[in-house]
Symmetry: C2
Subunit: 547 residues, 2 copies
């Protein structure tokens, strides 16, 4: 580590979750990007499809980006790759499975053309400009995830993206502790690490606990078994496939992304399912119920997912039936609790048995809990520490844990997205603040939807709209015909029948009385009338034509 060399670290995107979807490292003129993910909108972000990090800061520096390294294949780490590559055509580096998932994603969007995708195995090292990047294996709920050792002239850092210390992972490939020890021996100047579970005491259970739990469910199921999870939870697919083999059933995947991902993972050797176990969905639907396992998406109860549609009775290919056992193999993401609960209740109502995480250990977290976070800190013995991947509350907690294991408080920095951190002479300091927010994606155009538009949507949704169309004689100022009124989201048909004639009379009185003739004045008179009658405030619009 030489003097006067400065590394800049910039966490980006991800709602409140710091550096979750994208982290930028800048040394001299070289820029390294780690991960390019998306987030899903919160409940009050009405009509938004998904959210990507605001990377405007990089746009005029695109030619300085020496590479994009992706740590694993989950949506919150690869989902925005297309949007980033559109603007920053830098080479992408990832392990085989991650690269396969990225490739499929780009292909689905016809965006594979000019992209440079490069495979790097865990354990390998690549030099990208000023950055020497060593990829090492870590356990997570998807195979082939990596942590990064990054050597720069300003020092050595360890970037721990999503991880857990699972000693009995599904693929039998534990975290590369030896590499962590080696990095530690070289002297780590800065550790950045996953804070997702920093409020959770103890140790996250191994993925292994799911096998026996699935066995219990499979043994008791009187008919079809339908397991719902995320399409990118490849490890869970393996566990369900293994249980299917043990219980002598056949397995079919439902849903494009699930089928796609299973195909890629099998092709690359990350998912092992005997040929005779796997059957197409069509075939499974015609088999004896007791022989069938279906695996699909929708474990978050999203209304448009297969589970959402099954629970509502609107799925096209097949329906839920009495005797089905549905396994929701995931935990509700905060904000989805109501959707999940609704889906569970509806499926129970349809006569299915539903197994969810409150009833059996059919899901475990993919993230390290407090004891694992402390173990990592003690193994790496970093001089400095920045908690990443979490909301402020989790980062603060992770910082507290780091202090507990002996990292000096002054060597820990809690920052938020867009807050630049500088590492120089082995010391951390805060730099300037750049825009570090997020960008809404709704439909085809990105970022069209700003916070002003969101506030308008909220207002529309709160009490609906009330439109009044008036034709006025340009000489007398009197109405040429009855006001036309159109309302949405404000009144039930019954109430409209009662209220609207009265409103029409009011408007006629007002306009013909000559008191008010501007659209604005009429609107505000109608607003107060409606408020008095209903104690609600719809958005009122008046269009007035003079003829």
């Amino acid at each position: 580590m030489s003097k006067n060399k400065k590394l800049r670290i910039i966490p980006l995107g991800g709602l409140g979750e710091v550096g979750k979807n994208m982290t930028v490292y800048e040394y001299g003129k070289d820029i390294l990007i780690v991960d390019t993910g998306i987030m899903f909108p919160e409940n009050d972000m009405l009509g938004i499809d998904y959210i990507i990090p605001d990377f405007n800061y990089l746009l005029d520096k695109a030619d300085r980006v020496v590479g994009i390294v992706i740590t694993h294949g989950h949506e919150d780490h690869i989902g925005a790759i297309r949007h980033v590559l559109d603007q920053i055509p830098a080479p992408v580096y990832a392990t085989p499975l991650t690269r396969g998932l990225i490739e499929a994603k780009l292909a689905r969007n016809n965006a594979l053309g000019k992209v440079s995708l490069n495979t790097v195995e865990a354990g390998q090292s690549i030099q990208l400009g000023a950055f020497q990047v060593e990829l090492f294996h870590v356990c997570h709920s998807i195979p082939d995830a990596v942590g990064l050792g990054i050597t720069t002239p300003a020092g050595l850092l360890v970037h721990m993206s999503d991880f857990k210390f699972d000693h009995t992972p599904v693929d039998g490939w534990p975290t590369d502790y030896a590499k962590l020890a080696e990095l530690s021996n070289r002297g780590v100047d800065l550790l950045l690490s996953d804070s997702t579970n920093s409020e959770r005491p103890g140790w996250t259970p191994s993925e292994m606990v799911i096998g026996p739990a699935l066995d219990n469910v499979f043994a008791a199921a009187p008919g079809r078994i339908i397991v719902a999870s995320f399409a990118s939870l490849i490890s869970r697919m393996q566990q369900v496939a293994d249980a299917t083999v043990r219980h002598k059933r056949k397995l079919a995947f439902a849903g494009i992304s699930m089928v796609d991902n299973a195909k890629i993972a099998r092709k690359l050797g990350y998912l092992e399912i005997p040929e005779e176990t796997l059957v197409p969905l069509e075939q499974a639907l015609n088999m004896d119920s007791k022989q069938v396992v279906l695996m699909c998406t929708g474990s978050q109860g999203e209304p448009s997912s297969i589970i959402g549609r099954l629970s509502a009775g609107t799925n096209r290919q097949f329906d839920l039936k009495e005797g089905d056992t549905v396994v929701l193999s995931s935990h509700p993401i905060p904000g989805n609790e109501e959707n999940v609960s609704r889906a569970i209740n509806r499926m129970l109502r349809r006569g299915a048995d539903v197994i969810y995480d409150a009833l059996a250990p059919i899901h475990v977290s993919g993230h390290a809990s407090q004891e694992e976070q402390k173990l990592l800190l003690n193994m790496v013995k970093p001089k400095n520490f920045i908690p990443i991947h979490g909301e402020l509350r989790m980062l603060k907690r992770h910082a507290f844990l780091a202090e507990q294991v002996g990292v000096p408080a002054e060597n820990i920095l809690v920052v938020e997205n867009g807050e630049v951190v500088e590492l120089a002479d082995g010391k951390l300091s805060k730099g300037e603040r750049i825009p570090g927010g997020y960008v809404f994606v709704d439909g085809q155009s990105i970022g069209d939807i700003d916070h002003g538009v969101m506030r308008e949507r909220e207002k529309l949704a709160r009490s609906g709209i009330f439109l009044i169309d008036l034709n006025v004689d340009k000489y007398s100022g009197r109405l040429l015909d009855e006001p036309e009124i159109l309302t949405r989201g404000f009144l039930s048909p019954d109430d409209a029948e009662k209220l609207l004639p009265e409103v029409r009379h009011r408007i006629m009185d007002i306009v013909n009385g000559g008191g008010l003739n501007a659209e604005k004045d009429i609107a505000s008179a109608v607003k107060s009338f409606l408020y008095n009658e209903t104690k609600r405030r719809p958005m009122v619009f008046v269009t007035l034509s003079k003829a």
Copy 2:
């Protein structure tokens, strides 16, 4: 128990939660109502203030209602009393604190006039028509809660509303086990019991654990302490007051409902705070920070609550400051997780320390967990069982627990709101189904908002609105001036600048070209143009005037 006597049991209201807010018992012509509560809307019920049970079934039977018995003073059990009494002017029976809270609620709404409120102490018995109702004390997170023993000619039933078996409750008054044993000895034909925590293994911790947790927080706090909870959590008020005394601070309540409820509870002897400990808020705000404890509402992070406003920096009377310690003494209600998390992050950002239930046991549930539910079942030894107070998933779980302790499966009925259950000859059976839904309250009028209106609000919120006002020459069919366009919740100002001129041209081409002249046709042409350009579908409205 005589033959051929039939009791009808009808759980009502409460979103998916069965019988949570209201249960109706009907014997012969006599009707008994237990509880009249409200529910808070789910995230996708846009603009709704609160929800009350649909009790239309009772409207033409109002004169047959012999009484309304309220089990305790929480909003989900008393909140709809005004709406019910409006239509059903029956006498109300409650224990002193519950009655006091109801009285204050009615007084705030000027609805106290013709109401018959009657105080019944726990341990007393009242005869209401065919129903002999024995009230007995149960522990919950508010003092003076009761369970009911109801003797009818069709048999003896036990109605366990919200309860827990707390052996060291804040008020030193444990559940009346002797009464439960006595009822059991008499032979209980039917038990109805709280299922809220039926997915939670073990035993709910005693309220006692909160004292030491508060002591830790109080001892470490360098400045003001702000404790947030529900206004009706009287027991929590007592605990905060006790900690205040122990740590030689002064306590002030903030927020009308909190101040009101504290006053009533103190007057009735359910809340003991030394005179010299309690100070008005004004005074507390001018005292040395280290002497002050404030208690307020907003523990669910609701944007309009004191905590919501403090976190956003928009509270009127006081601001959060560096060195404040905020204690959120509650658990997020499903659906509120995002609000709570946002409030925590914002308060941390303002330099306050925030203690919430993931960090310290500063909240415990007021509801029985599985072992307590099983203990109740074993104590009461009911012939029949109906799980109430919970969504279908919890009811099913509670039914499973009842089977485990030996209630025969055929004697357990899981029903939903509006499903009538009949008890005759000691046997349960399902009767007819009546409307058992819920009614939206938005503004002043109740039930004006139906599901159609809600769907419209959802549509408005998803992509906004696009209004087009056209003036057309009635002879030539050509536009007299440029189309006027108004849009909300659809485009950012930047995009509007780009897109709107183009839309205007399109419309002029269409109309002047003579191809389309009906509002509907123009709207649908504009819709597809907008979708092509943005992949979004705002609601499009066209008003067309001919002159």
